[in-house]
Structures are given as C-alpha cells and as structure tokens.
C-alpha cells in the first residue's frame, strides 16, 4: 500500500461494546444514543469513560467510574492501542457510589 493510500484510510479505528449498569452501549444500543463506541486507537481510555457516562447520563462527578476488561482495570491515561483490543471487545463501566 502506498503512503498516499495509508493517509486516505485514516488512523485505525476500533469498535467496542461497553456494558454499564444502565445497559449496553454498542453500535446499535441504546437506540437513541448520540454517540457510538467507535474510536481511533490513539484515543485515551478516559474518553471512553466520559462518553459512556454521557450516553447513560451518569452526571455525578463525585462517583468513581472505572473501565474494566474482565477483572483488569484500564488506566485512564493510556491509549486504547496499548491494550491491543480486538474489534468488538466488551468492556465494563464500573460505577461506585459513596460510603457511609
């Protein structure tokens, strides 16, 4: 492939699925989502967390939101590419409330 064609193709893109406690975020769920979990692999994990929160209206700033791959906590500052995720990977948005 020529350099020109590489440029035309743009950066590699990854399609994810994110299970949240309010439902699954995917390319077709929820129906009324204003964004979809499709990202350039250079995107930071924090952006995925922010978008999943936005779609499911987790607006509270004081809660702890974490993105998990199975039992592994994904580091917000790292790019998606650093985890070598295959297309269609299921991630989990963990939501933690406060303690008394």
């Amino acid at each position: 492939m020529s350099a020109d064609k590489k440029e035309e193709a743009g950066p590699p893109v990854l399609t994810l699925r994110v299970q949240t406690p309010r439902g699954l975020w995917s390319m077709d769920e929820p129906k009324d989502a204003d964004k979809r979990p499709q990202y350039a692999i250079s995107t930071k994990i924090q952006q995925v967390i922010n978008d999943a929160r936005s779609v499911f209206k987790f607006v509270e700033e004081d809660s702890k939101y974490t993105l998990l791959l199975g039992k592994e906590v994904l580091v917000p500052e790292r790019p998606l590419a650093s985890y070598h995720l295959p297309d269609g990977t299921l991630l989990i948005l963990s939501v933690q409330g406060g303690n008394a």
Partner: protein
C-alpha cells in the same frame, strides 16, 4: 407499609436482565434460579483482589418501595451475617453500610438512625444514587474488588 410479593417479584424480574448482563460481563455469578413470590431472593458471587469469593444475598421483600436486605452468606447459604463471611471494608456491625441496604437502617437494627427507608435511592455520601439492582451489583463489585481479606 409493605408491598405485595407479586409486585416485588415483577419489579425484580423487570430489573434482573440488566443486572444479570452486567454481572456476566464483570465475571460475576448471579443466581436467581429460586426467585419466586415466596422467595424474593437472588445471589451474587463476588471476588476480592486476592481471588477470595464472597456470596451476597439480595432479599427483595417490599422492593421497590424499600431497598433489598443485602447480607453475606456462606456458599451453601446455611450461615449468614457473620464476620468471616464479610469482605474487609464494610461496617463492622457487620453491615454493607449504604442506603440501598435495608439492614443498614436503625429501624432494621442497623447503625443508621439518620436515614429514612423511603429515601433509599438518595446517594450514600456523595455521588451517584445507587437506585437499581444493576447499580448495586456494580457498587458492591467495585468495593469488594479493591478489598483484601475477611472481617473475621
């Protein structure tokens, strides 16, 4: 005031699919096989950071007017509420000290005389209100996953 068991069953059944999908994605086992109007209970198995397993019972009598009673039980469910069944990090009563646990309220023998059962959907401390079964599973999983050891 109480809720008919049929209504509670309907409410739990309406919420369980999302809770079950969340639990499955998070690698947790959710067992609602014995759920009925006569037994409004389901169970979730959690793991702490050392891989120790903890078995939580959600007793949903009077749900959704009141929150479930969340209690740790033994794997065979023959023992309940003892210190050794609890992960570290919760109130040493022992009790999951959150508004979504009926056991935490003083009127149910818990430590919180400053909470009203009818307000159970309010946030505990600050942050998001844990007001669905799936959010309860997420919250407990997050807390237990970070903990190490047992209370007793």
């Amino acid at each position: 005031m109480s809720v008919s068991s049929d209504i509670s069953l309907e409410a739990v059944r309406a919420e369980l699919p999302v809770a079950a999908r969340y639990a499955a994605a998070a690698g947790l086992t959710l067992d609602a096989s014995a759920l009925s109007a006569d037994s409004l209970r389901f169970y979730v198995t959690f793991e702490n950071r050392d891989g120790e397993r903890f078995f939580a019972e959600f007793d949903c009598r009077d749900y959704p007017l009141y929150p479930p009673t969340v209690e740790f039980v033994s794997e065979d469910r023959g023992e309940r509420g003892t210190l050794r069944l609890y992960p570290q990090g919760f109130h040493t009563t022992p009790c999951v000290c959150t508004r979504y646990n009926r056991k935490a309220y003083q009127e149910r023998g818990g430590p919180h005389g400053d909470w009203r059962l009818l307000d159970w959907r309010l946030p505990t401390g600050q942050g998001v209100g844990i007001d669905t079964l799936a959010l309860m599973v997420s919250d407990l999983d997050a807390k237990i996953r970070q903990s190490s050891g047992r209370m007793g």
